[in-house]
Symmetry: C2
């Protein structure tokens, strides 16, 4: 939940109080839930019973929690949308290790990007057929024109047709090409959010959200815990009721970084709440094609009335391409295209042509199946040796490209990440994915890089060394 920093100048009792406020603020404890007993929390944090009792009494005096004799301490309802105070320092993005974050956003400089979000070059060697690259000279460069602002009509049509397989019923007019999924998310934020609006996300989730300057317009970020089958729905309902967010950002299939998929019943509940509380949902499905057990997409349940569907070819065809797309409710297509024009006029016709031709070449579906199988095999192998080395996996059946593992307690994780860095190995600590700075003992592993002997040797040596000392 939260940790005590013994080197900090902040009093222990204040650290405990701030930690509990942080847990309430990030919806780990919602209204009515019972806090750990004074004794249990004291043991867990390694502080005295007196310290925890003082922190609880202080919070009870502020009417944030209440003591129920014989039963323990309970969280009281929070009024208004003001933060509980003292929160920024405790759980805000200011404390994210900026150092790690910048590396994590630009992992291409590493030889072994073990925590990165893209596949190795040789896994994608056949993704674009040679016939397509051959045609490129004739088709894209020789008919050298800018791409239309909304993207190639042919490609938008091909995407709309493919979406029917996912039971997402969209016209090609609703498909807008973007420069990758990140660009799609940024366009949607700009069009939907106004200054001061609330954006609801999950914890852990999307790395980029931890970058302060992402807030254009200046929205407020709130998070709810992500469980293995989707968001914590008690926390979710409390958060939408309290903050009335304009936008909820989620990944239904193979959530990044945890690998879980949202259950259909939770997805259905989110759609209902979106209707009731009048917010939009952005379903980022960029890793969806790498799920071995597909479940329904949220956009198909909602019928694209309040939801945006976002995906990309950069992951499964080539990270050297920037071709993603969004599918939007019809009324929002025009402002989205306009936002794109203001930022960069249009995408790369060369890249769009390459994707169009690849889809038409007829091997794409088979490529996805092969890739999927390869990811599954790599996942099984990696999980096995990582477990043996001491990594703890909380979830028994995650899926997709990532493994999300907790490091053994005796390991000095920041020091290992630093040593990996110097060995050309990119490792991202879990706290980078967490607005509440939780998961600081976790690592995100990209299974496609895990079984490379150089990484295996490095990692096993590190863990053996930690055990020995």
């Amino acid at each position: 939940m939260f940790q005590i920093d013994r080197d900090s100048k902040t009093l222990l009792v204040d650290q405990v109080r701030q930690g509990i406020l942080g847990g309430i603020e990030t919806f780990h404890w919602v209204q009515g839930s019972r806090l750990p007993s004074v004794r249990a929390l004291a043991r867990q944090l390694g502080v005295s019973v007196f310290t925890v009792a003082s922190a609880y009494e202080g919070l009870a005096a502020r009417q944030v929690i209440e003591a129920r004799p014989g039963a323990g301490y309970f969280v009281l309802p929070v009024r208004g949308d003001e933060p509980l105070g003292e929160m920024d320092e405790a759980v805000g993005p200011a404390n994210v290790q900026g150092h790690f974050l910048y590396r994590a956003l630009d992992p291409v400089r590493y030889e072994l990007p073990v925590s990165a979000g893209y596949l190795p070059p040789d896994w994608l060697a056949d993704a674009v057929p040679p016939t397509v690259t051959g045609r490129l000279v004739r088709n894209a460069l020789a008919s050298s024109r800018p791409a239309p602002a909304a993207g190639s009509d042919e490609l938008r049509g091909a995407i709309a047709r493919r979406l029917r397989d996912l039971h997402i019923d969209a016209s090609s007019q609703q498909v807008v090409m973007t420069l990758g999924a990140t660009h799609a998310l940024s366009m949607i934020r700009k069009v939907v959010l106004r200054e001061g609006d609330y954006l609801l996300a999950e914890d852990p989730s999307y790395l980029l959200l931890q970058l302060k300057s992402i807030k254009q317009p200046d929205f407020n970020l709130i998070t709810v815990p992500r469980l293995r089958d989707g968001p914590d729905m008690d926390a979710f309902e409390a958060a939408v009721a309290r903050y009335r967010p304009r936008l909820f950002l989620t990944q239904t299939l193979v959530h990044n970084p945890t690998g879980g998929s949202t259950s259909p019943s939770k997805a259905q509940r989110i759609v209902s709440l979106a209707e009731r509380y009048d917010f939009h949902v952005v379903e980022d499905d960029v890793y969806g094609p790498l799920a071995s057990q597909p479940t329904p997409r949220l956009a198909s349940l909602d019928g694209l009335r309040r939801s945006f569907y976002v995906s990309s070819f950069s992951k499964v065809l080539s990270p050297a391409l920037r071709v993603g797309y969004l599918v939007a409710p019809t009324a929002l297509v025009e402002p989205l295209v306009e936002a794109k024009m203001c930022d960069l006029l249009c995408g790369s016709a060369l890249d769009e042509t390459l994707v169009t031709d690849t889809l038409h070449a007829g091997r794409y579906q088979q490529h996805l199946i092969t890739l999927n199988q390869r990811v599954m095999r790599a996942r099984a192998t990696a999980r096995q040796w990582l477990s043996k080395a001491g990594v703890i996996f909380d979830d028994r059946s995650p899926d997709g490209l990532f493994l999300w593992g907790r490091m053994p307690d005796h390991l000095d994780l920041p020091s290992m990440i630093e040593q990996a860095h110097h060995a050309g190995i990119f490792l991202a600590p879990g706290s980078l994915f967490s607005h509440g700075r939780h998961y600081d003992r976790h690592l995100r592993f990209n299974v496609a890089y895990c079984n490379v002997p150089a990484f295996k040797a490095f990692f096993q040596a590190q863990l053996a060394l930690a055990r020995a000392t």
Copy 2:
């Protein structure tokens, strides 16, 4: 200057008053300059002497202008940075013909984009050597990695070396790859401008500035008249003194759309004023490579202390590519890369590799020379027949890709643009380039499309018909 709309519900006297306020607001008349005589303006606008006299008296009563007996009416100093009022409706972007504007921002849907800003495919057929496209499969796709956030190091280095030929002394670290020049301008605006800041531009200038939603953050746009040798410097000094803008956006070489280049002495004066009034300058040099008579770039005079240099390969290699770049003062590089990450992580490694390999293939310089000669020949031919057909060119020696011509008075320009549209010919009225909605009798011609027989036939027929009726 401004026109009278006889169908408007606004009284003629109010239209004249608003028109004069517009002229002062857009620095066509600066402090101390003499307005036209009552009689001359009445004749020019086709209204009564009484109407103009009433408008002048109203403005004199508001102390915007003053009467000097025997000498005429003179513009008084304007205090503060408040608009003179009633301006938004009269000269604001709200009146831009949105209809034309949207077409103009997405001209690729036309067969003959005569007013567009890019070259025809066959002019660029040899721009990317076949050896480069051949290598593409091996280099870019086969080593399928994302581009670094700031862009390919190799390409940034190659650009920094080429900039030395323009006497722009930049390290490769100061070069940031962008998705075209529009993207570079949008990144700079986001990093430099705060809510409510003033952006100074020229009139006429960059089409996209007329799009209301470009204002993220919500800056104020002010313009000064563009003359054949650069901005009107009296207006420029009045504007920077009054509004203290944060950013001045300009094109030193072959200004778009007028084709003039800023004289070295004006460029030097702008650099001094930037120092004195503490603003940044963005030099958009996207059309610079198509100038036949290169003059010094502003960034070379300033030494990149207060200036940004922006250019692109999309114009001269292929509009199917989105590869541009900006060169920034060192201290601003990091926030610019961060702004890029927030919006779209990185550019297309495929496109960047294609440009890198083309620069290394050693034919690029020769390609530019050939292209330049072809533009000059097309310009001479087009100018000759357009003049003969009745188009009036104010400037005797413009340069670059565009001709900026005034249509004969008897021609119904909006109707001709509409007919051209239905014939698949894209024509952009001059008012689209003007924040003050001036130049509504002008057209921007891309010389590379002007000599196509289909356009020539259409245009000559239209002008002959107009003469006959």
